[in-house]
């Protein structure tokens, strides 16, 4: 009875709606699995908190308070009333700086990831789909080259040539960290390509482009997403490293820039711990939350990993 029931309902909806219905079902199933992953839920909680903080920053901190000329606090003061995390050398509240810094840090992390993952996904998908052909060999060689060379040093060299600006840092991180996603996505595309329904689509006369976008991409998309979450963590850490080396954009306060300013102002030798500790803890929390979400997603998508 039930089988006929489903058959009847299937006939009443259009194929397109059916596809979306199935995708929604799969998403719901994944969410149920994800919800039971404690690590994933804790990570997601922290991640949403920081995203909310970044969005709400303009409401919480007024621009005058983080402007060196108009800041009201006493310079280099340890935590006191009204300044729970103390002040920097301009008398700006460190708490305000950390709140405002979340915007640039997350912006760089997420945007650089979009650059890296779209580059990596395109190259990986095309390379995997044309697996074994000259296109694949060429793209794979480029990917392997980027995997092998010391990319962090390349990023340092690139940003010192191109100059310090948020957008340049985003492009530099994106261009130097796409190889890892590309390799992963290529492997996925190779395995999806071998499935019978792809062959069927080809027999039915689908173009390469249609097969790639309609059949392979939707299947690889979850893996791309999980990888992107992990890449955000790496991008935030890379931005911090570049900033600490003085390659950051000093006009756009990120957590890395705060640490660098504290370091060059001698916060370490003078013992101004309140200036250096909070931005670092913020970076650890955000990176950890993205990493935890990424691992949890990986577990949901890869049944072999479950229960670890």
């Amino acid at each position: 009875m039930t089988t006929t029931d489903t058959a009847v309902t299937t006939l009443t909806v259009s194929p397109r709606r059916l596809v979306w219905q199935r995708r929604l079902d799969a998403l719901t199933r994944s969410w149920v699995l994800y919800r039971h992953n404690r690590q994933g839920i804790v990570g997601l909680g922290f991640m949403l908190f920081f995203i909310a903080l970044a969005l709400a920053a303009p409401l919480l901190v007024s621009p005058e308070d983080i402007e060196p000329a108009t800041a009201q606090g006493q310079p280099n003061h340890s935590p006191y009333a009204g300044y729970p995390l103390g002040t920097d050398n301009f008398g700006r509240s460190v708490l305000d700086l950390v709140i405002v810094g979340s915007r640039i840090s997350l912006l760089v992390g997420v945007t650089a990831t979009v650059v890296a993952v779209s580059l990596g996904a395109t190259i990986g998908l095309v390379s995997g789909y044309y697996g074994g052909t000259k296109i694949d060999v060429g793209l794979n060689a480029i990917t392997n080259w980027f995997l092998v060379i010391p990319w962090l040093i390349l990023a340092i060299v690139l940003s010192s040539i191109l100059g310090a600006s948020v957008w340049i840092i985003i492009v530099v991180i994106g261009v130097t960290s796409w190889a890892q996603p590309a390799r992963l996505i290529r492997a996925q595309a190779l395995s999806v390509r071998a499935r019978p329904y792809v062959e069927r689509a080809r027999v039915l006369g689908c173009s390469d482009r249609a097969i790639l976008s309609r059949h392979i991409l939707p299947n690889v998309a979850p893996v791309i997403f999980a990888n992107a979450i992990l890449t955000v963590a790496v991008a935030i850490l890379t931005e911090t490293t570049l900033s600490i080396l003085g390659l950051g954009d000093a006009t756009a306060i990120s957590w890395g820039v705060i640490i660098e300013q504290a370091f060059s102002a001698g916060a370490m030798t003078n013992g101004y711990w309140w200036w250096m500790v909070p931005p670092g803890i913020a970076i650890v929390c955000v990176t950890l939350s993205f990493t935890m979400c990424g691992y949890a997603l990986d577990e949901v998508l890869n049944p072999k990993l479950r229960g670890r």
Binding site: V148, L152, V157, T241
Partner: protein, 321 residues
């Protein structure tokens, strides 16, 4: 077959390095401002002086002939002259190699030892208190920027406790023999610890997950059925099979470790290639930056070649792929 495998890997390493050379050349020429323009950015030069510099760099010649000269010069060991020191780049880098080799060598060895041990111990008893705490500890350390970790260690152990010096390679005193070794070791401890903690954490995560993958294989059950003790099963059957993938990942991360060394050396004013890079960034010393990228690429490619070849011998299955 083995020879063919080694030859293929050698060929790939050569091609990679050739790519690095091309990349290095075009990167510094096509980017905003040529070397003379970049020089003008760091020092105030008149138009004629810039033109003179152009002639010295050979920038008035066509690009292809410039590239040819560049290849010839690079292969004969001439990487240009540092703006900062006025010495040849190779010599400038050469004087800074030892501290970095020491730091990266000691740091990586400690990281590998720590990471593998913890990963094996945790993975073998999945879900135990040790496993959970070391996994979360590693995830936290993995999420910590090395530079900031170094600053924290510096504030705590050199600042508050005063157990270690705040930076440098040695204290500059005329120590000899054992006293000198202790002096150098004291200065090395914190930067090497930063490196070991930062990268040991990711090695732990990798080792743990590859051990978990091996643990449920049939041959482990067979080994147990033979009546081997748990320790023997782990040592003889599980670890040797799980260590290979970790080994590749560790070598692949070598380039990343070199990048991390730049920040760590900067924080601890440790006078190696990393600190040199930081000074070069500050002074727009592009020939040195170019040289650092080239030399670190050569180091990484050689490390990978070494790993690939050893891997080929350790795991015979690799040749079939």
């Amino acid at each position: 077959m083995r020879l063919r495998y080694v030859a293929r890997k050698l060929g790939w390493a050569a091609v990679t390095l050739l790519f690095v050379l091309c990349f290095n050349f075009f990167l510094f020429r096509i980017m905003p401002g040529d070397p003379a323009g970049l020089l003008a950015r760091s020092q105030r030069l008149t138009e004629t002086e810039i033109a003179e510099q152009r002639a010295i760099f050979g920038l008035d010649k066509p690009l292809l002939s410039q590239f040819w000269t560049y290849l010839q010069e690079t292969f004969s060991g001439n990487l240009g002259t540092s703006y900062l020191t006025g010495l040849p780049v190779l010599e400038t880098i050469g004087t800074r190699v030892w501290p970095t080799v020491l730091l990266v060598g000691v740091g990586t060895t400690a990281a590998v030892w720590l990471g593998l041990r913890m990963g094996i111990k945790g993975g073998w008893r999945r879900g135990s208190t040790f496993d959970r705490s070391s996994l979360y500890g590693s995830l936290t350390l993995y999420s910590t920027p090395e530079g900031w970790l170094g600053m924290m260690l510096l504030i705590i152990f050199a600042g508050s406790f005063g157990w270690f010096p705040v930076g440098g390679y040695d204290s500059g005193e005329d120590y000899t023999g054992l006293a000198h070794v202790i002096d150098v070791a004291k200065h090395l401890f914190l930067p090497a610890a930063t490196l070991a903690l930062g990268y040991g954490a990711s090695y732990m995560i990798v080792m743990r997950s590859s051990l978990l993958e091996v643990k449920d294989e049939d041959f482990i059950a067979t080994a147990r059925a033979k009546g081997l003790t748990e320790t023997m099963v782990r040592r003889r059957h599980a670890v040797p099979n799980a260590i290979l993938p970790s080994f590749t990942l560790i070598v692949l991360s070598f380039g990343f470790v070199l990048g991390g060394a730049i920040v760590i050396e900067t924080i601890f004013s440790y006078p190696g290639i990393g600190l040199l890079t930081y000074q070069a960034i500050d002074a727009f010393d592009y020939p040195v930056l170019q040289g650092v990228f080239l030399i670190s690429s050569v180091a990484v490619v050689i490390a990978n070649l070494f790993a690939d070849v050893t891997y080929g011998f350790l795991d015979p299955r690799i040749e079939e792929v």
